[in-house]
Symmetry: C2
C-alpha cells in the first residue's frame, strides 16, 4: 500500500483549515510544504495532515499559529498531552455523581452504558437540573478534553449523538406550549445543535412553543421562516468553535433582515466576546434564556 496523501480539498475537509490558509502558511511560515503531483497540485503526506490537525486543535485552544508552527517538537510534548491510552481508570462504582463516570463510558466506547447512565441521571434530577447540571457541564468537559487531546473526534461525536437523542426524546414527551413562539436554529457553517437542544428543553419546560428548524439555515430563510411561523422570538446558537470574527456581522445582518417586532436572542459559548447590539439579546448562560422568557412574558 502506498503512502497515503491528501489533496488540498481533502486537507481542508479533515483539518478545517481553508485552502487559502494552507497556501498562506506555506508561503509565510514554510509549513506545510506538500509534494506536488504530475499536474503541479499540492499533495500532503499523512504526517503533515496529522500535524496540521494538532496545530488546529491548539489554535482553538487559544495559541497562535505563528508560534505553533515555529516550535519544533516541544509543543507536542508540552501542549498536547495525549491521553495515556491504556490507563482505563476503573469506573467509580460509588454514587456516580461525578461527570467523570459519564465521560469514562464514552472513553470506553460503551454507548449503551452511557445512555443508561444518562437516563438514570435524567430521572433522578428532573429535566431542568439535568440540562443545567449534567448536560451543560458535561458538554464543556468534553470540549475541554478535546482541546487537550484527551478525547478523539469520534468519541466526541458519539457523545453528541447519544445526548442529542436523549434530549430530543425527552422534549417529545412535553405537552404543547402556549407561547411565545420561539424559532430555534443556527446559521450556515454552524452545525452544533446541542446548545440549541438544551435551550429548547428549558423553554419547552416553561411552556414556550418551540419550532426546531435544525442547523445551518441561510439568513434569508430564517427571515422567511420567522414570518411564516409568526414567530415572536428567533433564537440562534453559536458554539465555541465558530469563527469569532464572523459572529458580529452575521447577527447584525440577521437583525436587519428580521422585522423589528421579532426578538433576536443569541446564545452559546461562541458569544463570550461579542459586543452588545441594539435589538439583540445576548444570553451567555443557559439560565439567561429562562430569565429572558419571563421578561418577554412580562412585557407582552
Amino acid at each position: 500500500m502506498s503512502t497515503l496523501s491528501f489533496n488540498i480539498a481533502a486537507v481542508e475537509r479533515d483539518t478545517g483549515l481553508s485552502k487559502d490558509v494552507l497556501r498562506m502558511w506555506e508561503r509565510r511560515y514554510g509549513f506545510p510544504v506538500p509534494e506536488r503531483d504530475a499536474n503541479g497540485e499540492r499533495l500532503y503526506p499523512a504526517a503533515q495532515v496529522e500535524r496540521l490537525r494538532l496545530i488546529k486543535r491548539l489554535m482553538d485552544q487559544g495559541h497562535r499559529p505563528g508560534k505553533l508552527i515555529a516550535a519544533p517538537e516541544e509543543e507536542l510534548a508540552a501542549l498536547a498531552p495525549r491521553r495515556p491510552r491504556e490507563t482505563a481508570a476503573p469506573l467509580p462504582k460509588a454514587a456516580g455523581d461525578s461527570l467523570d463516570e459519564l465521560i469514562e463510558y464514552i472513553r470506553r466506547h460503551d454507548g449503551p452504558g452511557f445512555q443508561q447512565a444518562m437516563q438514570q441521571r435524567l430521572v433522578r434530577q428532573g429535566l431542568q437540573a439535568f440540562v443545567q447540571d449534567t448536560v451543560a457541564p458535561l458538554t464543556r468537559r468534553v470540549g475541554e478534553a478535546w482541546e487537550e487531546g484527551n478525547i478523539e473526534v469520534f468519541e466526541e461525536h458519539l457523545f453528541t449523538e447519544l445526548t442529542k437523542r436523549l434530549l430530543r426524546q425527552t422534549i417529545a414527551t412535553l405537552p404543547a406550549g402556549r407561547g411565545p413562539r420561539v424559532l430555534l436554529t443556527t446559521v450556515p457553517e454552524e452545525q452544533h445543535v446541542l446548545g440549541l437542544l438544551m435551550v429548547e428543553a428549558l423553554l419547552a419546560l416553561e411552556g414556550a412553543e418551540c419550532i426546531p428548524l435544525g442547523t445551518q439555515m441561510p439568513l434569508l430563510d430564517i427571515g422567511r421562516a420567522a414570518e411564516a411561523h409568526a414567530a415572536d422570538i428567533v433564537a440562534l446558537s453559536f458554539s465555541i468553535a465558530f469563527p469569532q470574527r464572523q459572529i458580529g456581522g452575521l447577527v447584525q445582518h440577521l437583525r436587519q433582515i428580521l422585522p423589528p417586532t421579532v426578538a433576536l436572542w443569541v446564545g452559546g459559548g461562541g458569544i463570550r466576546r461579542l459586543a452588545a447590539q441594539p435589538g439583540v439579546a445576548l444570553l451567555p448562560q443557559l439560565p439567561d434564556a429562562i430569565a429572558a422568557l419571563q421578561a418577554w412574558r412580562g412585557t407582552h
Copy 2:
C-alpha cells in the same frame, strides 16, 4: 433602511456557490456583477443573491449554469413554477394514505399535526414498512418539491428535523443488537443524516448493533473509530445534493484508510452514478441494506 447587500462570504453561505465559482461566473458569463465597497471588495445586492439561489436550485435539478445565466427571465417563468401561495388545498379527510396529506402539514407549518400524522402511520404500518413506504418516498417527494420551488428551505428543515426526531425516538426503543457491529456516519460536508437514520432503523430492526456517529466525520477519524469500536462494517451515506464529482475519490480514499477486514457500505441518493470499486458495496436502495446484512451474516 438601507438596501441589504452581501459580501462574497455571505453569498457563499446563503447560496452554496463557492467564492471561486462566483468570481469565475462573473469573469466568464458577466453575471453576477456585484458592486464594490470602498476597499474594492464585492458587494452583492439582495436581488442578485435571490437570482443566484434560483440558479443554484435549477442547477441541482440538472440544468447547466451557462444556459441558465444566459436566459433572461423566461427561465423564471418556465422552469421555476413557484407554488401558488394561497392554494391551500383542503386536507384530504379520507383514509389519508397519501403522502400529500403529510406534505400539506409541512406546507401549513403545522409541526404538531405532522408529528401526529407520522406517528399514526408508524403505528399502523410498523417500523420497516413505515421507513420504506413512508419516510423514504416522502423524503424524495420533499426533495423534488424543493427542486421545483414548491417548498421553502425552512419547510424542508422542519420536515427533516421532525422526522429525525421520530426515527431516533423509535430506534431508541429497540433492544440491543447482537451483531454485526455497524458504524454509521457521513463524510465532512455531508450533513444529511436522514438516510443514515433510515438505514439504522432497518438494520437495528434486523438485530444489527448500530453505532451512530452522526455526520461529518473526517476520514482519518472514521478509520480510528472503526478500530476503536471493532466495527465489522462502516456505512456511509451520500445525499443527492452532495457534489457527485467528489464521491468516487472520497470512497476510494476511505477504502485505503480502513483495514481490508472491515466492510465498506455506501448508500444514499448521491451514488446513482457511482462506478463500482473493489471492496466497496453500493447500496442504492434501502432494501439493499437488509440484503447486504443477510449476505454478511451468511459469510461470517
